[in-house]
Symmetry: C2
Subunit: 483 residues, 2 copies
């Protein structure tokens, strides 16, 4: 399968001629920076790495790839967790980095829209909106390095999805370079537009397999003027759901975040992270971090939240609770949420499962999952946390030293089996990439896989857009050079 | 083109045998009830009308249609304004009414989901949610007769889209009978699910051209505990947008409706509808109806809204305003909004344009539109109203007696030309149906039309699902009997 070097040379020469030499990355950097995913699990040598400066240059490159029959891997900040932004095979795919398409093209503060290029770092989009007194609400751990194009291509979720939805709900229009190199200008600023199939919704979350998002028009919101935070200790996830229902009845859309933390994970985190302050006793089974926010300066949110928590305490829904009364206290509460992630990283290898289910199925789901892990490998630590308000749990298993590879595989297998029994999702927000392609084939109905494959063939008949991601690479749809 | 009666007989006989005789409607009722659209513009004789009782029966019927090569027209409450739910040609298409699939299958109040069959009348869905202390927020003029399947197939909008989004944002899962008669069970209760292409988003708004929605899982919300309403008189739409920005800054997601009314339309309505109470002087150019609502009983919404309106008055943004302090006063304010529609209906023939644009483009859009109409036909009355908060204007032209057909056509032509110049949409919420198929071809880019056609061919290669709707009926894709 080793391709001839003349093929590589001819592609690189043509790309160099079209874009100039400074738009190509070659040598070791190509693999180290652009061929390696964030977790370091996937390391591939790209056929070439191109760094176009404009949508036109992206289109030119895609046409060149199409004419050479080579696969195209769109790459943003390369912070994805499923290997979706790096090649799936060696020396046969061109990585197109969107990093240089990083302009804010337009911002309409009154109309509540911003148009940005795909390579804008998420934090830059947030800042550009804030400079005009508006909020762009997508908020992720990786916001300092992930790019907005990748956020949209993977339908990113994060901390504020409960209030504002995932990326899918925040996009009004897209500009996309199609697999044949034509540019679809679907940039619109319309909140309502029922003129045929909603093609942008098809592109959102398709992980670069249907085209390359080069720019987007996004929704902006009023900036909340007041925020309140509290941390509650609870006896069960059932109680956490009861608390959520009460808070949503009282605060409605003003509930921004409702994050679950596993007592087991927090106790381990405290041992690993000395800077973690004990804002509540650590003996409880579960904790939730609540953030409420409002645009109304008239509201005494702290007071309202304190009253709700007091009522919940009287009614036995929460076992303990603390309200942040200063910004630094709020930071301490968020530190607990982040501590679980950081402690897991420092602890060593872990299995990550980004799952979701109907809210009311979550208690049974977590109960079953917690049972299955020690039965397979004693000493492993199952830790459930995440965006409970969205029904999205990160069920991560901290592996013990003597957990074998086959035991680890068995744990994941059983986790996903239980998720399936409870009609949940095996990828709530991280996507499929190359990591979960086989898993997807196991859990999706044949009808749905077939519909996806038909859509893929309709939009990308040569199969050159991000090959081997989401859907299995089909024989005969690989392009000439890889054939 | 008159088909042979033996073809008709053989189809009807097979359908009768499969479903029983009481599931077929024949004779005059077929055309009068099922072949005639709500506006009475499209009157077609269906090949047959079938009223299946279950998803399985829908699937059986669709397979039968596929094997006979006849087109399938899904029909809900038949309240659409673009002829999407009635046949596009005589005696060649089978209408499948979803009316008997009207069960609420499941409601999960705590989890915030309801699963209903397509034939449930929207109001019934609202009531079923309310019985469990939850809100299903879709709210339309036709809610007493439109069915939820049609609402989803057309991505219905309505009065509360500003707060809760259109139907698209309210759907978590779908059950769909595909063009070959297989059933895709995509009923899920997941708020986050990034496992491949979002096929439900493709189905939503596709107006029955990709399959028949037979059931849906929908999102429920807390019921607002307090509502406040006010009506403001304004000098310009610019001022209305400034008011909207202030209200959203103060109330954020608690702004439920922000409805524009044309002073010209209200003055005419007062002459036509004697029961209309003059809650404000009628001399102003523009009026907006504001509804804010909150789940928080602690909030004094009336007081907050009164303060905001007082500030807006001091700053010269509103010319006059009235706050409803009783439920009957609130009803009087909403009557103004509804009066424009009712007066138009009683006045006689009109041209309806359901358009949208970026919020900040609306003032220029309406200004240009208002100029163009009298220049073509003196005595016609252009009336702009609708969901300004969503950038969605109903620009309707009340025709004078001496306006000719070609003048009317010219008005619509110019309206859509101006919408195009301002990058707006020619169908914000009503869809395309058969009414705007030619218009869609004029306003959409060839790339976008091509992508839509590819998706259509991928999912419905025989072109039998709601033929002649949204996309132009392609030669060779009409099926055997019509050939």
């Amino acid at each position: 399968m080793r391709r001839t070097s003349s093929d590589e040379r001819s592609f690189a020469a043509a790309a160099r001629q079209l874009l100039g030499p400074d738009s190509l990355v070659e040598g070791a950097a190509a693999t180290e920076i652009y061929g390696t995913d964030w977790r370091g699990v996937y390391v591939r040598e790209p056929l070439a790495v191109a760094r176009p400066r404009s949508t036109q240059e992206v289109a030119t490159l895609v046409r060149l790839c199409a004419s050479h029959g080579v696969g195209v891997v769109p790459q943003g900040g390369n912070t994805g967790l499923c290997g979706g932004a790096v090649p799936a095979s060696d020396r046969s795919e061109v990585v197109i980095s969107l990093a240089r398409l990083n302009k804010v093209r337009n911002i309409d503060a009154l109309g509540g829209t911003i148009t940005v290029e795909a390579g804008c770092v998420l934090q830059r989009v947030q800042e550009a909106a804030a400079e005009q007194g508006r909020l762009f609400p997508l908020r992720l751990g990786a916001e300092g390095s992930c790019q907005i194009g990748g956020c949209i291509a993977t339908n990113a979720g994060g901390m504020n999805a409960l209030r504002y939805g995932t990326a899918r709900q925040l996009v009004l229009g897209l500009e996309v370079v199609l697999p044949d190199g034509r540019i679809w200008n679907g940039l619109r600023s319309l909140h309502k537009d029922n003129t045929g199939y909603d093609l942008k919704q098809l592109m959102i979350g398709s992980e670069g397999t249907l085209g390359i998002i080069t720019a987007a028009t996004l929704r902006l919101f009023p900036i909340p003027q007041r925020r309140s935070h509290c941390l509650a200790a609870l006896a069960s996830i059932e109680d956490a759901l009861a608390l959520l229902a009460r808070l949503q009845a009282a605060f409605d859309a003003q509930v921004m975040s409702f994050e679950l933390m596993d007592g087991e994970g927090l106790r381990a985190a405290e041992r690993i992270l000395p800077q973690m302050r004990r804002v509540l006793p650590l003996s409880h089974p579960w904790y939730v971090l609540v953030e409420v926010a409002t645009a109304s300066v008239q509201l005494d949110l702290d007071d309202m939240l304190a009253m709700e928590m007091a009522d919940a305490s009287v009614d036995g829904i929460i076992a303990d609770g603390v309200l942040a009364t200063t910004i630094s206290q709020a930071r301490d509460l968020w530190f607990w949420r982040e501590a679980i992630v950081e402690a897991e990283r420092r602890n060593g290898p872990s299995l990550k499962h980004d799952i979701s289910a109907a809210l009311t199925a979550i208690p049974a789901l977590v109960r079953e999952l917690k049972k299955v892990v020690p039965a397979i490998s004693q000493g492993t630590r199952p830790v459930a946390f995440g965006h409970l308000g969205d029904g999205n749990i990160h069920f991560n298993v901290w592996l013990s030293k003597d957990c074998t590879g086959s035991q680890a595989a068995k744990i994941s297998e059983q986790v996903y089996a239980i998720v399936g029994q409870l009609h949940g999702s095996v990828s709530a927000e991280h996507g499929i990439g190359q990591h979960k392609v086989d898993l997807l084939r196991q859990v999706k109905s044949p009808i749905e896989l077939e519909l996806m494959a038909r859509v893929k063939s309709a939009i990308d008949p040569s199969g050159l857009m991000n090959p081997g991601k989401v859907l299995r690479r089909e024989a005969g749809a690989r392009g000439r050079m890889a054939g």
